[in-house]
Symmetry: C2
Subunit: 116 residues, 2 copies
DNA sequence: CACCTTATTCGATGTTCGTAGAACATCGAA
DNA sequence: TTCGATGTTCTACGAACATCGAATAAGGTG
């Protein structure tokens, strides 16, 4: 992401934007995976889409204030803005994650080459 | 709606579908208006869109299991499936309605000609 | 420096969505 | 039956979106 790593102030983000971001199966899957609060690296995310597509979806999540991206060298790490989301939309993430039969794409974690 | 007034079983509806339905400003506005549990007639809904567009949005809400439509003569009435939604997605509607700065379109209630 | 890895951006494509107007179907009332 | 009110459906179109592959930029490593 780099240059335009715009992380919006959550107070500026309308609810509709967040809901739209969460209404995509892949993005919801990503959020579910990240819901444990652990920061993941791009490469760890095991999704059924092309790299560029994944990059796009992560950008959507980022620009809607759901995730935060941090870069370290060439690697990028993502994590949910859990606390902020909870303050802005109390209970939302919880009820979203609690739902069964969510149509989310299952996103796994690829064993990543440990940067020693 | 009439012929194909399909009201899906909420258990069959994926979360992503519900979120997608709620991510539109007008639809979210409709849901907010209906959140008091009161059943409203089509004509009562004061929205800034054409009749056909409103019909479309109401159809989306209906087919995603959020609202239920009842027809009486030529009039149609809508109301939220509050209890069912709560059981299926506990807390979801509450947190959605609680959010401030939702980007919802404000939907008013038109004084309706009382069918005496 | 050459090279590999990682992620972004660009161009192209096909799909879905929101919207409106016109035509149609229904029902109730005059 | 004719008219008016109410909704639905059809058709169309531009905007937005999802997707991919190729090209690009930036960091490490040898």
């Amino acid at each position: 992401m780099a240059k335009d790593a715009q992380h919006p102030d959550l107070d500026e983000v309308p609810l509709t934007t967040v809901l739209a971001a969460l209404s995509d199966p892949l993005r919801l899957g990503l959020v579910r995976l990240l819901s444990d609060g652990v920061e993941r690296q791009w490469g760890e995310l095991d999704t059924p889409v092309a790299k560029s597509t994944l990059s796009h979806h992560l950008k959507v999540l980022r620009s809607s204030g759901i995730t935060r991206t941090r870069e370290e060298g060439t690697r990028c790490y993502v994590h949910l803005r859990l606390d902020e989301l909870e303050r802005r939309f109390p209970g939302l993430l919880g009820s979203v994650l609690a739902a069964e039969g969510h149509g989310a794409t299952t996103v796994g974690v690829k064993p990543q080459r440990q940067p020693a």
